[in-house]
C-alpha cells in the first residue's frame, strides 16, 4: 500500500491532513474519487462481492485500453477465482486474451472443479429442500430456498436467484425474515439492473410496521436512491442519498460505497435543488458532511457553487468527469447532470444583476462570448432567465415584464377569444339542432 500513498499524497496533501493522517488506516478514509486518474486497487477495495467484479469489468470496457484496462482485468480475474462463477471467468479470460501472461490464462481445470462442485451442491440442496417440504416446516423451507438463492447468486444465475429469494416470501413468519428477503431481492435486482423491482421491494419493507435497524434503513435509502437515479429522478435520488445515516460506513459494500453516496447525492442535489434547499439539506446537513469528507472535491465544488465561484466549480466538475464516466451507475447521467448544473450556474449568475457584462461572464464560465450568447439565448427562450441581450455592446439587461400592460393585453385577448369561441359554439349547436330536425323520429 506504500506505493499508493506516494501517488496520492502529492496534490492531496491538504486533504490528507484534514483527514488526520489517515494514510495508514483503512482505505475508505482516503479520497478515491478525485481528479487524478483512477487508482483501481483502491477503488476496487471499496467494494466486495459481485459488484466489485462488475465494476472492474465496466472500467476495463470503458477506460479505453492500456495499463488501466489490464490492471482492472487482472484484479477481476483474481476476484473471480475466489468465487464460483465460471461464466464470468470465461469472459474475463477472453478479454485478457493472454496479455497478462500464463498465470492469467484459461484455467480449465479450475472451471471443471468449480462446475462439478456446483452440481454436487445443487443436488444436495435439492434433496434437502425436498425433505423439508415433505416435513412442512416453514422455517427450514425458507432456509432451503434462501440457500438456493445464495447458491445461484454465487454462480451468477441471477434470474434463478431472484426467483428463489422471492419464493421465500410465503414462508416468512417474522418481520426480520421479510426484511431479509427484501434485502436479498434488492441486491439481486440491482445487479440485474431492474430498478423497478428495487423500488417495489423497498416499499415493501417500508410498509413493515416495525422500526428498522438504522443500518438497514440506511441501506434501503441507498437502494431507493439508486433506483431514482436510474429513472432520472434526480431530485428524489438526491433526497434519498442525503438522508442516509453516516453509520452506514462500508456495511453496504456489496452495492455501494460511502464515497458513492456522497458523489451521487452531491451531484444530484446540485443539479436539481434550488438554493435554499441546497443550503438546508446539503451544506448544513451534519450527517451528510461525514460523507462529503470522503470526496473533498465534491464538497469543494458544492461550496463553490453556493458562493458563486463558478469558475472553480466548473473546473472541479471537469476534472471529475473522466473518473465519473467509469462509474457503473452514474456514467449515462453525467452529461445531463453536468448540463443542468451549468444551466443553474448561468441562471444564478445573472439573477442579482440589472446588467451584466458578457465578456466578464464568459471569463467566469471559461467560454467565448459568442458561445455564451448562444447558451443565454437558449435559456431566455425557455423562460429561465428574464433578460435581453444587447448584442452591440455585449451586455445582458434584466427585463422585468410590465405587469399592468401584460394584464391589459391578456384581458383584451381573452375577450376576443371568448367572443370567437362562443360564436363558434352557437353555430355548432345550430348545426346539431338542424340534424335533430332532419332526423325527426
Amino acid at each position: 500500500m506504500e506505493r499508493d500513498d506516494e501517488e496520492t499524497s502529492g496534490p492531496m496533501m491538504e486533504m490528507c491532513t484534514t483527514n488526520g493522517g489517515g494514510e495508514e488506516t483503512s482505505s475508505n478514509r482516503r479520497p478515491i474519487i478525485t481528479g487524478e486518474p483512477l487508482d483501481i486497487e483502491a477503488y476496487a477495495s471499496m467494494y466486495r462481492g459481485r459488484t466489485k467484479i462488475t465494476r472492474l469489468l465496466f472500467i476495463a470496457n470503458h477506460c479505453g485500453g492500456g495499463n488501466m484496462q489490464l490492471e482492472a482485468l487482472r484484479m477481476a480475474y483474481d476476484e473471480i477465482k475466489k468465487g464460483e462463477n465460471t461464466q464470468l471467468f470465461r469472459e474475463v479470460v477472453s478479454k485478457i486474451n493472454g496479455r497478462l501472461g500464463d498465470k492469467y490464462g484459461m484455467d480449465s481445470a479450475w472451471c471443471e472443479t468449480v462446475d462439478r462442485r456446483a452440481e454436487l451442491k445443487k443436488g444436495k440442496l435439492d434433496s434437502e429442500l425436498a425433505s423439508y417440504r415433505t416435513n412442512l416446516i416453514k422455517e427450514s423451507i425458507r432456509m432451503g430456498y434462501n440457500d438456493f438463492g445464495d447458491f445461484y447468486y454465487a454462480c451468477g444465475l441471477l434470474n434463478d436467484a431472484f426467483k428463489n429469494y422471492v419464493r421465500t416470501r410465503d414462508y416468512c413468519t417474522t418481520a426480520k425474515h421479510i426484511i431479509h428477503m427484501c434485502m436479498n431481492a434488492i441486491l439481486v435486482s440491482i445487479e440485474m439492473g431492474q430498478f423497478s423491482h428495487v423500488s417495489s421491494y423497498v416499499n415493501k419493507v417500508d410498509q413493515n410496521p416495525e422500526t428498522l435497524d438504522p443500518i438497514v434503513a440506511a441501506k434501503l435509502r441507498c437502494a431507493s436512491g439508486l433506483a431514482h437515479l436510474e429513472l432520472k429522478k434526480y431530485k428524489l435520488a438526491a433526497r434519498k442519498f442525503l438522508d442516509v445515516n453516516p453509520e452506514l460506513g462500508s456495511s453496504y459494500n456489496e452495492v455501494i460505497a460511502p464515497q458513492d453516496v456522497a458523489t451521487y447525492g452531491g451531484l444530484c442535489a446540485l443539479a436539481s435543488f434550488d438554493r435554499s434547499e441546497l443550503k438546508a439539506k446539503v451544506i448544513d446537513n451534519i450527517n451528510f458532511r461525514n460523507f462529503l469528507e470522503l470526496v473533498p472535491e465534491v464538497r469543494e465544488l458544492i461550496n463553490d457553487f453556493y458562493s458563486s465561484r463558478y469558475a472553480s466549480c466548473l473546473e472541479y466538475l471537469g476534472s471529475l468527469r473522466a473518473n465519473l464516466l467509469l462509474d457503473i451507475h452514474l456514467h449515462d447521467h453525467i452529461d445531463t447532470l453536468y448540463d443542468q448544473i451549468r444551466k443553474k450556474a448561468l441562471i444564478q449568475y445573472t439573477l442579482p444583476f440589472v446588467s451584466v457584462d458578457l465578456s466578464r461572464m464568459a471569463d467566469a464560465f471559461k467560454t467565448s462570448v459568442s458561445g455564451l450568447e448562444k447558451e443565454l439565448e437558449a435559456l431566455i427562450t425557455d423562460d429561465q432567465i428574464q433578460a435581453r441581450i444587447d448584442s452591440h455592446n455585449k451586455i445582458l439587461y434584466a427585463r422585468h415584464a410590465d405587469q399592468r400592460n401584460a394584464t391589459f393585453q391578456k384581458v383584451l385577448q381573452m375577450g376576443n377569444e371568448f367572443d370567437r369561441d362562443v360564436r363558434s359554439m352557437m353555430l355548432r349547436a345550430n348545426l346539431l339542432k338542424h340534424e335533430y330536425h332532419a332526423r325527426k323520429p
Binding site: I380, H392, N393, R420, R423, S424, N430, L431, H434, P441
Partner: protein
C-alpha cells in the same frame, strides 16, 4: 286554365294589401303549372308589370320564363331583366316566396357565369341577399352564391361587407360550409387572416359524420393561414372537431401537414425543400400562392422570436440567424415588419444595428378605453344570446323528446325529474 292576361290582371289587382297578397299567392301557385305550358308568355309580357309594386307576380312569371333553357342571344337580356327586378323588388312580397326567389337568383348567377362576366352579378346579388334575409343573424342559401361571385369577380371588398354580419343561425349545413369556405378565401384575398381563420375554423370543427370535401379543402387552407397568422402549427385538430374529421383529415392532407411540421422547426431551407417537393399537389389545389405566403411568413416569425431575446442586434446577425441572404434583405424585412406594426424597432443605418423596443401601448388613452368598453358590451350581448338560446332549446319539443327517450335507459329514480313524463315516448 287561366290565360296569361287573366293572371296579369289579377296580379295588378291584388298586389296592394297583405290579405290580397296571400290570395294572390295561392292563385299564382295554382296557376303555375298552366303558365309553364302556356307559350304566350314572353319576356315582353313582363313589361306590363311593375317590379316594385307587383313583385310577387313578377317573380312567378320570371321564374316560369327562365326555368327552361334560354337561347344565348336572350341570355344577356334575361340577365339585365333579373338584375333590374332584384334592384326594384319589394322585400316583403319576396319573402312570401323566398325559395322561388332564391332559385331565381341562383339561375341568375349561373347565367352571369355563362356569359363570363361575374362582375355584373355582384351588386344585384348583394341586394338580393339583403332583401331575402329575415334577420342579419340568419344564413340564407344565397350567401354562398353571392360570395362565390365576388370571388370570381375579385370584388373582395363587396364580399367582405356580406361577411361582417355575425351569423348565428344556420339552416342548411352545406350552405354554411360553402359560406365559411368562400368567406375564408375572400378574407385571405383581403389579407385579413384573423377573420379568415375564424371562418375556416368554423368549417373544420363543424359537426359531420363523414368527411366533407368542402371541409377538407377548408382544412388545407386553415393550416396555411394558421402558419401565416400565428406562426405555429399543431398537428392535432381542435378538441371540438368531429371524430370523422379527426381521424380522416390528417391522412388526406399529408403535404400540408409536412409543410406545417417543417415550419415548426423554423429552418427556411428545409421548408422550401418540402414546398418544392409537393408543389404539384399545391398547384392542383390552387394553394401554391398561399403556400408561398406561408414560407415568407417564416422569416417574420423568426425575426419576431429574436425580439424576445435581444435588445440590439446587428443586421448581419439577423440575416445569419434567420437565414436571409445578406444584411440588406434583413433590413428590408425588418422595415416591412415595422410598417405593418408587427414589431417595434429602430434601425440605425450607420452602425447597421437594430434596436428592439417594447410595445409603446400604455393602455392609458381614451381610445383604448373605448375599445375595452366595446369589447365588454359585445361580450355581454353574446352572453345574453347564449342564455336565450339555452332557454329556447329547453322548450324545444324535439329536443325534449329525444332526451326523454334516452332517459328510459338510465333509470335514475323519481328524484331526477328534469324532463316531464309526457315527453318520454
Amino acid at each position: 286554365m287561366s290565360s296569361v292576361e287573366d293572371v296579369i290582371t289579377s296580379i295588378q289587382g291584388l298586389s296592394s294589401s297583405s290579405r290580397d297578397l296571400s290570395a294572390l299567392h295561392d292563385l299564382l301557385k295554382g296557376a303555375n303549372e298552366s303558365l309553364r305550358a302556356n307559350s304566350d308568355l314572353q319576356l315582353s309580357t313582363l313589361d306590363q308589370l311593375d317590379p316594385s309594386k307587383h313583385s310577387l307576380g313578377y317573380l312567378y312569371l320570371l321564374d316560369v320564363l327562365t326555368c327552361g333553357p334560354v337561347p344565348t342571344e336572350n341570355a344577356s337580356d334575361v340577365v339585365l331583366l333579373i338584375a333590374r327586378f332584384i334592384n326594384a323588388c319589394d322585400a316583403v312580397q319576396i319573402r312570401l316566396a323566398s325559395e322561388k326567389f332564391v332559385s331565381l337568383c341562383k339561375r341568375f348567377k349561373d347565367k352571369v357565369l355563362e356569359l363570363g362576366d361575374p362582375l355584373r352579378g355582384v351588386a344585384p346579388l348583394l341586394k338580393a341577399v339583403h332583401k331575402v334575409q329575415v334577420s342579419t343573424k340568419r344564413l340564407t342559401s344565397l350567401h354562398p352564391d353571392c360570395l362565390q361571385l365576388c370571388l370570381l369577380a375579385k370584388c373582395y371588398k363587396a364580399g367582405f361587407s356580406v361577411l361582417s354580419d355575425d351569423i348565428l343561425e344556420v339552416d342548411q349545413p352545406r350552405d354554411f360550409y360553402l359560406y365559411c369556405y368562400y368567406g375564408g378565401m375572400i378574407c385571405i384575398g383581403l389579407k385579413r387572416f384573423q377573420k379568415a381563420l375564424e371562418l375556416l375554423y368554423n368549417v373544420v370543427t363543424a359537426p359531420m359524420h363523414i368527411v366533407n370535401a368542402i371541409a377538407l379543402e377548408a382544412y388545407k387552407k386553415y393550416i396555411l393561414v394558421t402558419l401565416i397568422h400565428s406562426g405555429q402549427f399543431s398537428i392535432s385538430l381542435p378538441k371540438c372537431a368531429s371524430t370523422a374529421a379527426k381521424s380522416n383529415f390528417k391522412t388526406l392532407c399529408t403535404p400540408y401537414i409536412d409543410v406545417g411540421m417543417s415550419y415548426n422547426d423554423g429552418k427556411i431551407s428545409e421548408l422550401e425543400a418540402v414546398v418544392v417537393a409537393n408543389s404539384s399537389d399545391f398547384e392542383k389545389d390552387k394553394n401554391l400562392g398561399l403556400v408561398k405566403q406561408a414560407v415568407s411568413s417564416l422569416y417574420k416569425r423568426n425575426i419576431l422570436r429574436l425580439t424576445q431575446k435581444y435588445l440590439t442586434l446587428s443586421l448581419q446577425d439577423i440575416a445569419n440567424m434567420v437565414q436571409l441572404a445578406n444584411a440588406k434583405d434583413a433590413e428590408m424585412h425588418v422595415l416591412q415588419m415595422i410598417q405593418d406594426g408587427q414589431i417595434h424597432a429602430l434601425i440605425n443605418q450607420k452602425d447597421g444595428m437594430v434596436r428592439f423596443l417594447e410595445d409603446p401601448e400604455q393602455y392609458k388613452t381614451s381610445e383604448m378605453i373605448e375599445i375595452m368598453d366595446s369589447v365588454i358590451q359585445r361580450t355581454i350581448g353574446l352572453s345574453k344570446n347564449l342564455l336565450a338560446m339555452d332557454e329556447s332549446l329547453s322548450c324545444d319539443p324535439l329536443y325534449l323528446g329525444k332526451v326523454g327517450r334516452e332517459r328510459q335507459r338510465f333509470d335514475f329514480g323519481d328524484d331526477f325529474d328534469t324532463v316531464p313524463q309526457k315527453f318520454s315516448m
